[in-house]
């Protein structure tokens, strides 16, 4: 590869450049033009501005490279912080939070099948449309299907008065000692009736007809809604609870709606009665009578629905399933675990949690990386354009 000699090239270039004549009067023209441009600019600015800020204004019009970089970094930080905040809000509001609840609910269910402790307190008065399932083994509680938000301390959602109509249902699975089925049924009946409730139904299988087969039974209690929670608590103390499920639904809206419709129909009926009292012909009386019968039928139908609703909200329905001990032959595996087994389970759980965490943040990380890439590209482009156009 041949290369031109640097010194020779420099000499030739110097010689060629020195042959180029400098134009006459060019410097004076530039000075006068620069001063006239400055004067024009000064005419557009007030004297006070000229005295105080001309250089800073120029600097503001033409940002330096460092300033442009600082602005780019600040913009990147703002965008990234905003993106993280938005992602956090999205994560908080997304069903992703339910997935962990579902996992814990599964674990709770698994524990409830084999284990028992029964030392946990019963959840407070159930809330509107809340479905609370509690594992008696580890005491974990999961709530799902809430239509009115989380439970409040009083057991009623905020904004609902004391006259709210709550329909409460629940079920408790109890393990009881051998041969105690009848006595437990009696105890549960006493618990229900003591608080003004009653037994809606009972079913018992004593020995199931063969030796060694389990004795079991089911009793359905109707207890006053205000005492529902305490009754559930009392029932759990009768045996060893393996599963507790409570559910409550706010039917206040439905109740008020029925009442309003009944009131409106009663007002219509009153008007028809007034019309009928003023009727002069048999035909008019018969026509009004027909309308009155229709109205009366509707009123009675709605009143029936209201009564049913009233009854359902007056009494909570609690189904208690009883199973005598000695027939759950499968021991809880968790109790058989050694220290190494527990450590292994904890390790697997930690690994799963780590994977879940990685998946959960992957969206945010991807967003942040994309935002940074776009900003870096834009900032670089703006910086280079700024450097090129600035002067």
């Amino acid at each position: 590869m041949t290369m031109v000699d640097e010194q020779a090239l420099a000499g030739l270039l110097q010689q060629a450049a020195e042959s180029i004549a400098i134009p006459d009067g060019a410097e004076e023209r530039i000075v006068s033009k620069a001063l006239s441009v400055e004067a024009d600019r000064a005419m557009k600015v007030t004297p006070s501005d000229v005295a105080v800020i001309p250089r800073s204004r120029l600097a503001a019009v033409v940002p330096r490279g460092a300033r442009a970089r600082a602005l780019s970094v600040a913009a990147a930080v703002i965008v990234v912080a905003g993106g993280i905040a938005l992602s956090a809000v999205a994560l908080k509001g997304s069903p992703g939070g339910t997935s962990s609840s579902a996992l814990s609910a599964t674990a709770a269910h698994a524990g409830a099948t084999y284990g028992h402790s029964g030392s946990e307190a019963v959840p407070s008065v159930p809330t509107k449309s809340a479905n609370t399932e509690r594992s008696a083994a580890d005491g974990s509680t999961s709530t799902k299907g809430s239509a009115f938000g989380p439970s409040t301390g009083s057991g009623l959602p905020e904004g609902v008065s004391q006259s709210a109509k709550i329909e409460a249902t629940g079920s408790v699975d109890l393990t009881i000692p051998d041969g105690k089925l009848q006595s437990v049924l009696t105890t549960l009946t006493a618990v229900a009736t003591a608080d003004g409730g009653f037994v809606a139904g009972t079913q018992a299988q004593i020995g199931a007809g063969s030796p060694g087969s389990p004795s079991s039974g089911t009793i359905v209690l109707q207890v006053p809604e205000p005492t529902f929670a305490s009754i559930v608590s009392q029932v759990q103390r009768v045996g060893h609870p393996t599963s507790v499920t409570t559910s409550s639904t706010d039917v206040t809206g439905q109740y008020v709606d029925l009442q309003a419709r009944i009131t409106a129909l009663q007002a219509s009926r009153q008007q028809y009665l007034t019309i009928m009292s003023q009727a002069n012909s048999i035909g008019d009386v018969l026509a009004v009578q027909s309308q009155l019968e229709t109205l009366q039928s509707q009123i009675e139908q709605l009143q029936g629905q209201l009564n049913v609703l009233n009854s359902q909200t007056t009494y909570g329905r609690l189904t208690v399933t009883l199973t005598e001990a000695g027939h759950h032959v499968t021991p809880p595996p968790i109790h058989l675990q050694s220290g190494i087994g527990k450590a292994w389970s904890a390790g697997v759980g930690g690994f799963v949690s780590g994977v879940e965490w990685l998946i959960r943040i992957s969206g945010t990380v991807l967003f942040v990386l994309l935002a940074l890439a776009v900003l870096a590209w834009g900032g670089r482009w703006a910086w280079r354009m700024g450097r090129r156009q600035m002067i």
Binding site: M1, T2, M3, V4, D5, E6, A8, L9, A10, L12, L13, Q14, Q15, A16, A17, E18, S19, I20, A21, I22, P23, A26, E27, R29, I30, V31, K33, A34, L35, V37, E38, A39, A42, V50, R55, S56, L58, A59, V62, R64, R384, R387, R388, M390, I391
Partner: protein
């Protein structure tokens, strides 16, 4: 008060021009290959540099900064104005740049150099003029054209290779046919 400030500014600008106009004008001539365009470009460059003199940071080198303004103005002229005009022939360009009252041998050499320079791609032409005429270092050229020093180095290397192959310079530079190992340390 304002008149005194104008006078001070005029003196400062005149000092700038005394220091840099000649070299800036000749640099622009070598880049653009045309006196009229070079005169316009340099005037515009000085006015822009003067207007945005606040962007010259404290302690920053004046020379590369001024050449940067000149090079940018030349680039703008070549991109925006000159392509839309009818380009004159290479001979006319040289005649517009070089005087005719120099010795014939010197005119021929200068004509050959300018001719070879005009045949270089613009990015290479700029770095050659800044390095071998304006005598800027590679780092200063990098500042002037807004590129990395490595880019400047590779452009200079490529430009010297192309110039060595140019027929007009083969007869002018006795060392042009030397191998790279002989020229480069």
């Amino acid at each position: 008060m304002r008149g005194r400030a104008d006078e001070d500014d005029g003196d400062e600008l005149a000092a700038w021009l005394r220091e840099g106009y000649d070299r800036s004008f000749r640099t622009a001539c070598l880049i653009l290959g045309n006196r009229a365009d070079a005169e316009e470009a340099v005037q515009e460059a000085f006015l822009r540099a003067w207007r945005f003199r606040a962007s010259l940071g404290t302690g920053a080198a004046f020379k590369p900064w001024l050449y940067r303004v000149v090079v940018n103005t030349c680039n703008s002229k070549l991109r925006q104005e000159i392509p839309h005009r009818d380009r004159r022939s290479g001979q006319e360009l040289l005649d517009s740049v070089l005087p005719v009252d120099d010795p014939p041998g010197r005119i021929a050499q200068s004509r050959d150099v300018v001719s070879a320079l005009q045949d270089l791609p613009l990015p290479l032409r700029i770095v050659v003029v800044l390095r071998y005429y304006a005598d800027l270092s590679e780092r200063e050229i990098a500042t002037a054209i807004g590129r990395r020093p490595g880019t400047v180095k590779s452009r200079l290397h490529e430009a010297r290779r192309l110039l060595a192959e140019h027929p007009a310079l083969r007869s002018e530079t006795p060392d042009a046919s030397r191998s790279e190992s002989e020229v480069l340390p």
